[in-house]
């Protein structure tokens, strides 16, 4: 026991002092270790802190037509960036940022979270293509929101009114799903990539490579100087095989209608024009599209986002008869087949009607083609059988992807006995063959497939791979392009080829199915088709409502021998092929007209404007005005500065020169 004034143990007090001393020695060692031993390392780290990587965005490559006329260009715009290497509480500032940039605060926060795993020197893209007032907001809040910055970006400028929208496609921000796919593994969130069309297929060429600038930042996160710069590599310019004049003609032909038009050079497979209707405005996609607009596009029954040229799978109707005729000729059946058409015939116990109820009378192959006699082809189909039909149709590429350089092409269906067993576990009924003979039944193909098949027949069996770029014009190392130069050959008897194409010319002559589509002075070979979407019985039930109207088809090429253009038209709800034929001949006429007025067809094209030396003979009336006097001489003619071409750029584009 001890008293109230008993002192606290002196030893323990001294011990406490030593404990405090040892704590201080440990802390001093900590300082020594950081500030003396590892000083260089941390000085370097501090230096790195002050350096920020600022991206320099690479402009996407332009897209031009075969003559170099611009189709897709870029325009400068500002994007709002969020710098994450400032020490600001980004989530706390999100509300103010969202208000100023007219964004949803939650969207801003979600974006911050999404990019959390990225290195912090990489800024987040908050909003593309900001308006002048949003730009002013960022400028006015340099001190309050130092983490906000702007960057000049090149936005895609697409033609107006959905011109060529399906072929071009559009760009969008790379999605998380895409980032998980191997072909996008080199991209990072925020990158703009092609989402559809050519923009997607040739994305790697068009995209270019972003550069960056290493900048010194001051105490407020503002740039005060730059260390060095890695310049951006702009994307490559992409030259399409599209002829803008022809594309415009095709767009005009299909304006206000549903369907697709494709024009191709049958010798090379170069696609000259491709239109799908209804269309959409790709400009809406180049910045972020609103959910409402997107839903409207996706739920539209006319499917405006679908490129019907390569994604619509429909019965080809009577256009299929050309394939039938070729198959029948090669098998030695069609040229010897004569049928008496009485407006219908009975096969396997069921009556199949001809589209001409009164009948065609005596029909041979030629008349069957230009009059499109159903009974003749029913009979031919019965004699050939489904497997021989399928063999030829498949050889001409029906029911398979054409291999065109556009994404999401569909394959369609060319039925056969084997196909039916594989897909339906059912035997093929011989009666089904009869419908296939006129391009109905289970046959479902795309306009592109039909175009390619008829193109092969028009070229005597030369099968090309359709493509929208010039394979020989691609940057070195782009090996994929080589496959568009590959040509397959399907054997066709030359006499059969002559016979069938001659019969196709008669389609547009008096007595054919579509004489009113004929264009004076241009010899067009073609074939019409009208395909039922539903059976005639169902259609009658719905009182011929427009929704269930037939699809009109037409495939035509010119000239008859060695054609240089072939056009396929799908006119949905177009009732009859002759209406489709009119659209096709508009395009063919535009092509031929252009060929005829383009000087390089006649004389060597002068380098630029300049003068051409010409020799000429002419007559002059003599003195009394009765006798002509022949004179000769040389003339120097001034050539116009610009070639006589209708279009200089796609709608909404500024011409290059």
């Amino acid at each position: 026991m001890f008293g109230r004034d008993e002192k606290v143990s002196a030893i323990r007090l001294t011990a406490a002092q030593y404990i405090i001393l040892s704590v201080f020695l440990v802390l001093a060692y900590g300082l020594w270790r950081l500030q003396v031993m590892q000083s260089d390392y941390y000085s370097l780290a501090a230096e790195k802190n002050r350096i920020r990587n600022v991206p320099i965005l690479a402009p996407r490559g332009k897209i031009v037509d075969r003559e170099g006329r611009p189709i897709v260009d870029n325009y400068p715009s500002f994007s709002a960036l969020l710098l994450r290497d400032s020490t600001r509480d980004l989530n706390a500032d999100a509300d103010l940022i969202a208000q100023g940039l007219h964004l949803d605060p939650n969207e801003v926060r979600t974006r911050i979270r999404r990019f959390a795993s990225m290195p912090q020197y990489q800024p987040i893209f908050l909003k593309e293509d900001i308006t002048p007032d949003e730009l002013a907001f960022i400028d006015a809040h340099r001190n309050e929101l130092p983490e906000l910055d702007t960057i000049m970006a090149h936005r895609r400028l697409y033609p107006r009114n959905g011109f060529m929208a399906h072929l071009i496609g559009y760009v969008g921000e790379v999605t998380e799903d895409m980032l998980n796919q191997p072909q996008f593994e080199l991209y990072s969130p925020g990158d703009m990539v092609g989402v559809s069309g050519v923009e997607r297929h040739y994305n790697t060429l068009l995209m270019g490579k972003n550069g960056f600038r290493r900048a010194l930042v001051n105490s407020h996160g503002r740039e005060v100087g730059r260390l060095d710069e890695t310049p951006a590599e702009p994307g490559k310019q992409l030259k399409l095989t599209i002829d803008l004049d022809l594309q415009i003609a095709a767009e005009q032909a299909l304006e206000g209608k549903n369907g697709a038009i494709v024009a191709m050079d049958p010798r090379t497979g170069e696609v000259l024009a491709m239109v799908s209707r209804p269309t959409f405005a790709p400009q809406d996609f180049s910045v972020r599209i609103s959910r409402n607009e997107w839903n409207k596009l996706v739920t539209d029954p006319d499917k405006p986002l679908l490129n019907k040229a390569i994604q619509a799978q429909l019965a080809p109707g009577s256009t299929f008869k050309i394939i039938m005729a070729t198959a029948g000729w090669q098998e030695g059946i069609a040229q010897n087949l004569h049928v008496n058409c009485t407006g219908g015939a009975e096969f396997y116990g069921r009556r199949f009607g001809c589209w001409v109820k009164t009948g065609h009378g005596s029909v041979d192959l030629e008349k069957a083609i230009y009059q499109s006699c159903d009974v003749f082809f029913y009979t031919l189909a019965e004699k050939l059988g489904i497997d021989r039909i399928a063999k030829y149709a498949t050889a001409f590429g029906l029911g398979q992807k054409t291999g065109i350089d556009l994404p999401n092409e569909v394959s369609g269906v060319m039925p056969s006995e084997e196909w039916k067993i594989r897909n339906f576990k059912q035997k093929w009924f011989a009666g089904e063959t009869i419908s296939v003979g006129i391009g109905q039944g289970a046959v479902a193909i795309t306009p592109m497939q039909l175009l390619r098949a008829i193109s092969a027949i028009s070229m005597g069996g030369r099968m090309v791979v359709p493509h929208v770029i010039t394979p020989t014009d691609m940057p070195p190392g782009y090996v994929e392009a080589a496959r568009y130069l590959e040509v397959k050959s399907v054997p066709i008897d030359p006499s059969g080829w002559n016979y069938i194409t001659d019969a196709m010319v008669k389609v547009l002559q008096p007595g054919g199915t579509s004489p009113m589509a004929a264009v004076p002075g241009i010899e067009i070979a073609g074939k019409t088709g009208s395909a039922q979407i539903v059976s005639l019985a169902t259609r009658a039930k719905f009182k011929n409502s427009d929704d269930l109207a037939q699809n009109g088809w037409f495939v035509g090429f010119t000239p008859r021998r060695n054609p240089d253009i072939i056009v396929c038209v799908l006119f949905q709800g177009g009732e009859h092929g002759k209406l489709a034929a009119r659209l096709a001949t508009q395009v063919l006429k535009a092509y031929v007209d252009k060929q005829r007025r383009t000087p390089q067809k006649m004389v060597e094209k002068p380098k630029s404007g300049g003068k051409v030396d010409m020799g000429a003979l002419w007559t002059l009336p003599d003195g009394d005005g009765h006798e002509d006097k022949l004179e000769g001489g040389r003339y120097v003619v001034d050539l116009p500065k610009k070639p006589l071409v209708a279009a200089t750029a796609a709608p909404g584009m500024v011409p290059v020169n």
């Binding site: 004034d5 405090i20 001393l21 500030q35 941390y42 501090a46 230096e47």
Partner: protein
Amino acid sequence: MSRYVSYRDFDWLLLIFVLIICGLGVMEIQSATQHTKFAGAHIKQIYWILAGVGMMFLMSLINYQALLEQIHWFYIAGVGSLMAVLVFGQKYLGARRWIKMPGGNNHFQPSEWVKIILILAVAKYFAEMRQRELSWSDFIKAGAIVGVPMLMVLAQPDLGTALTYVPIAVMGVFLGGMQWKQGLAVGLLATVAVGAVFFTPRVHVLKSYQKQRLTSFLEPDADPQGSGYQVSQSLIAVGSGGLWGGKGSQTHGAFLPVPQTDFIFAAFAEEHGFVGALGVLLLYFIVLMRLTQNAQTAPDRAGTFVVMGVVAVLSFHILVNVGMVVGFMPVTGIPLPLMSYGGSSVLFMFLALGMVMNVRMRRFVN
């Protein structure tokens, strides 16, 4: 009794050293906050220091023995105020720590002045002990005096402040005659408890941010954007200071978080280097040694316990804060006394020093 009390016995030397440290703090606050939205904080800090010095003189006038007589009432009031915080407190950044004062934008943090009450309460408890060696029941009672308010602060939740109560109890039992086996047992128990809390996933005693801070202490690069960011930026700041100090790009580039409060020592070490930082440590050491000296010359056991309680809290703050800055300790949000910006912290330190002066001025009374 009061006629024996004289300001000749006031520890002016201690005050000078304390004010030098405060001055360095004000300088660093000025440097770290210029061109930020906290610019001008050093002026406010000077006001706090002046108010603190005033309170220190006031505190030194009241006889600590008289205070000790009434300590049970203060203790009840202290626990009551902590209860009030839990019920009426302002919620800010996920924790209820402040009571809004009527008039103006002032907030009052009761957990700070509870520290003073605890120092006095522990001193009173051990001063009245009559045996040389601490019994287990005394040991547990002393633990409970500190433990109850500590649990209430933990519930706010404010782990950092709650931890600063621990050294008061530890210093009390150590000087009060703790046996080696008691120290060993408690040390072992504490280790097991901390381990269990941190490593058992089902016990959610630690908030996720607290756990994260601890994880980032163990692995600073695991989450460089979150609390690991603070640790690594602090290390960079201190390290880049070198021997003689540097440009201070970490502090002025706003890379170092809160350089005027919790990380003021990192900011100082960056600008003034190893030499400057060691100088500050030396100043603190002188202050602590001077305090211990005052404890030895205290007129009675209670006085010694009061002064050593202040020593314990101050040492612990320095250990945890500077330890955090040099990467030896996790981020806890404990300020560096006398240097860090903040009214509550400054006022507490000067009140505590007022008690020390109080004890010293009465050393010849008996």
